[in-house]
Amino acid sequence: MGSVNAKNMKAGVLATIVCGILLIVSLSGCTDNTPPVTEKVLIFACAGDADKLDPADVTDGESTARTDSIFEGLVEYKEGSAEIQPCLATSWIITPDGKNMTFTLRQGVKFHDGTDFNADAVVFSFERQYNTSHPYNQYGEWAYWGYMFSDIQKVEKIDNYTVKIVLSRPNAAIMTSLAMFTVAIVSPTNAETWKEDAFKNPVGTGPFKFVEWIKDDHITVEAFDDYWRGAPKLDKVIYRVITDPSARLLAIQAGEIHGMEYPDPASFDAIEADADLKLLTAPGMNVGYLAMNNGYGYNDTNHNGMHDQDEAWVKTPGYFEPFTNKSVRQAVNYAINKTSIVENLYKGTAIVAKNGMPPFMLGWNDAIVDYPYDPERARELLTEAGYANGFNTTFWVMPVSRPYMFDPSKIGEAIQAYLEAVNISVEIYQIDWSTYLAKTQAGEHPMCLLGWTGDNGDPDNFMNVLYGANQCTLGTAGNVAFYNNTEVQDLLSQALQTYDVDERARLYEEAQVLINEDAPFVYLAHANQNIIFTKNIQGFVLNPTARYFFYPVDMT
């Protein structure tokens, strides 16, 4: 080792530093050498990545946000509405008993892999979900089938362009359910090619075809030129994953993306002040509520989703005497200032709820008079019920933010304070989300916060799923108030079998009157859905079902 080495080393260090600085300076100075873009590429930032790209095997909104571009169903929702219109089926006939539905299929429709859309594809897409001996049944969990489509007994091919769906009992909600992503039509040829890996190589009939999926980074779809409605205006849509809401906003402000979901309501003023951005807002199909445990649970031993004569009512583990008293439940309703919660904790991007489903839905009862904020009346009712000195209980508060409740912890604290004012002293209890769901569905809570985002736009998907006595199943309850009113359940069951729209609406309205009187829940709010786009994006419409369609969208 001589001095030459030392010199070399010194020179090396210096050179490295100089090069490093030069590199950084030059890289930060120049802009990307992007070739002149003639393609219309829309980059949309999502809050998370998709789980899977098989529409029948997902339950999360991030997955369906992507599959919506790739797949279509027999019927679809009208733009911006939860009403249905023909899509891959051109027409249908339902027999008078409501149990046989015959669909005429659209001809000349191609899948992205070039194969024909026909009755075989429809039968395949349904049968793999319900027929456990179907060779493709093993490749998915089909989480929505048992819950929303179990009334479908079988799906049969009549001829190449006619299929028949046979129901085990009339179900007026099934038509709207058929517009759901779950029963989108997939290419059987593609499923055969990829088998258990078909979920990451999706092929449908939709306006965009799948290009690539880089996990946790982006999913790219490109225009399907042979789309039966005509090629889309956009050449590509790239769904980028940007989990942090502030990072999403910075990305759209820097011009890296053209649209983003779930903006932080705290940033709405800044967005409206930005001349390059526009904020789209629409009512959301959801409800956030407080449930009081009425104590009625049962074990659904035969797994038919209904409370049968031989399935005895048992007290829920969270049974709490005061909440079995209607006056107490009404008092809790009077004690809470919902308007203030919506203004301050939902930051105004919600409406106060008076019924258990949002106002735009069939059968929503506008005649219901909500419990006003009246702590005085609450105290009177408590005194009448024999609780003049109030009582103590535990209040379960969700640990995560959901589209129907942005900030459950703060809402929980606010409600705690409102209840304290009428001598009801509650201790807040929080636990991780999956345990929270499992335990509230098992009825372990005296009172809890929860909510619901609608699946298919049908009132049954709120009323029956959340408020029916059939849903008091211990362990998997949808009705977490464990509220049992046979009259209500009868109305809801009757409504599900009623195909006449007006009569059906009347039955739901009647049920809401009874639920309002019994007051098992405090309905807090229906939160809005919000989305931001840059001003050069036109034609995007928010849907009540919260699904994203980029087909009519254009950019200038």
Binding site: V13, I17, L27, V37, Y147, L250, D432, L437
Partner: protein
């Protein structure tokens, strides 16, 4: 040396067994249920039971561990419960991203940290020393999340010099081969992509590298100060060697052993520190993967990630130990 390396490699086996056993027990004992997370709010008991059985979650814990272990020995880490994807594929697609980010951050940290530390030590109690050490303190105390957002606001939005997040400008054509995007763009001679990839690396590397940079600067300074007080330095100065030669030829090399230790340890920590950086900069790395997996209680994925983290940690430590022998010939492992 050869035997030493073989011995160390063999030691990896009990370490990995221990780590996975503890991780397996902890994640299964933690409250929460992957099946519930997957099925959401409307699961029926029958569906829950079916899926639990399908993934063997109805078996006793020790049975689950041995099934997992025998699969791993055959190179099968299982499939993610939530995404159905092979755990090896899930990790394999993220791992190069995290490694690239960690290396870039480490290069930044070493380059700035060592230079700053040397300046600080040779000019002890000067303005330069105080400002370097002040900055190092600032760097150590800065929350990564906040630093990331600040860098994005300043360099991304206001100045518009650098991209906010992601790995590459998605409008550029790019061919994926190894998953290491810097390497891929070099192999495919894609200059535009290389520039874009490097530009996307700068801000996350600074955000992630700031804390190790500060630690390296402080370690280099104290180690240098210690060496500079030793007898052989005094001898060399007495011999009439120039101050530059004393520092750059003799002092630095002697001061580097603790610095290399700190670098080695911090490289492992960078992987876990990457979780926050990856979230802020929308970086598709292992850090985010493991956090999401823990939230979803996606057991096979969590254990798979922990296995990989442990392996990286052990291997980096081994490399560090071997590096000592090159820096200081007095260290040998025979």
């Amino acid at each position: 040396m050869k035997w030493y390396i073989i011995k160390r490699l063999l030691q990896i086996i009990p370490v990995i067994l221990g780590v996975t056993l503890i991780a397996f027990a902890l994640i299964h004992l933690a409250p929460g249920d992957p099946v519930r997370t997957m099925l959401g709010q409307h699961a029926t008991q029958m569906e829950i039971d079916d899926i639990r059985a399908k993934y063997g979650l109805d078996q006793p814990l020790y049975v689950q561990y041995f099934i997992w272990l025998s699969d791993v020995l055959q190179g099968d880490l299982g499939r993610s419960i939530l995404s159905h994807e092979q755990v090896t594929t899930e990790i394999g697609s993220r791992f190069p991203n995290t490694i690239e980010l960690a290396i870039a951050a480490m290069l930044f940290a070493i380059l700035i940290g060592v230079v700053a530390g040397i300046i600080s030590a040779t000019k002890q109690y000067s303005v330069a020393d105080y400002s370097v050490m002040g900055l190092a303190l600032f760097g150590i105390s800065m929350p990564v999340f906040w630093l990331g957002i600040m860098l994005m606001m300043i360099f991304g939005v206001f100045l518009g010099w650098l991209p906010i997040g992601g790995r590459i400008d998605l409008l550029l054509p790019f061919q994926r081969l190894t998953g290491f995007m810097v390497i891929d763009s070099i192999i495919t001679l894609n200059g535009a992509a290389l520039i874009s990839v490097l530009r996307h690396l700068i801000l996350p590397a600074i955000a992630l590298g700031t804390i190790p940079m500060a630690i390296i600067a402080r370690t280099t300074r104290s180690s240098m100060l210690e060496v500079l007080r030793q007898d052989f330095i005094r001898t060399e100065r007495a011999k009439g060697l120039s101050e530059r030669k004393v520092i750059y030829k003799h002092a630095i090399r002697n001061a580097m052993v603790p610095v290399v230790t700190v670098i080695g340890l911090n490289f492992g920590l960078l992987l876990s520190g990457a979780i926050l950086t990856e979230t802020v900069f929308s970086w598709p790395g292992v850090g985010r993967l493991v956090v999401d997996a823990v939230y979803a209680r996606d057991y096979p994925l969590v254990i798979g990630c922990i296995l990989v983290f442990a392996l990286v940690f052990v291997i980096v430590n081994l490399i560090t130990d071997i590096l000592y022998t090159f820096i200081d010939p007095r260290i040998h492992y025979d």
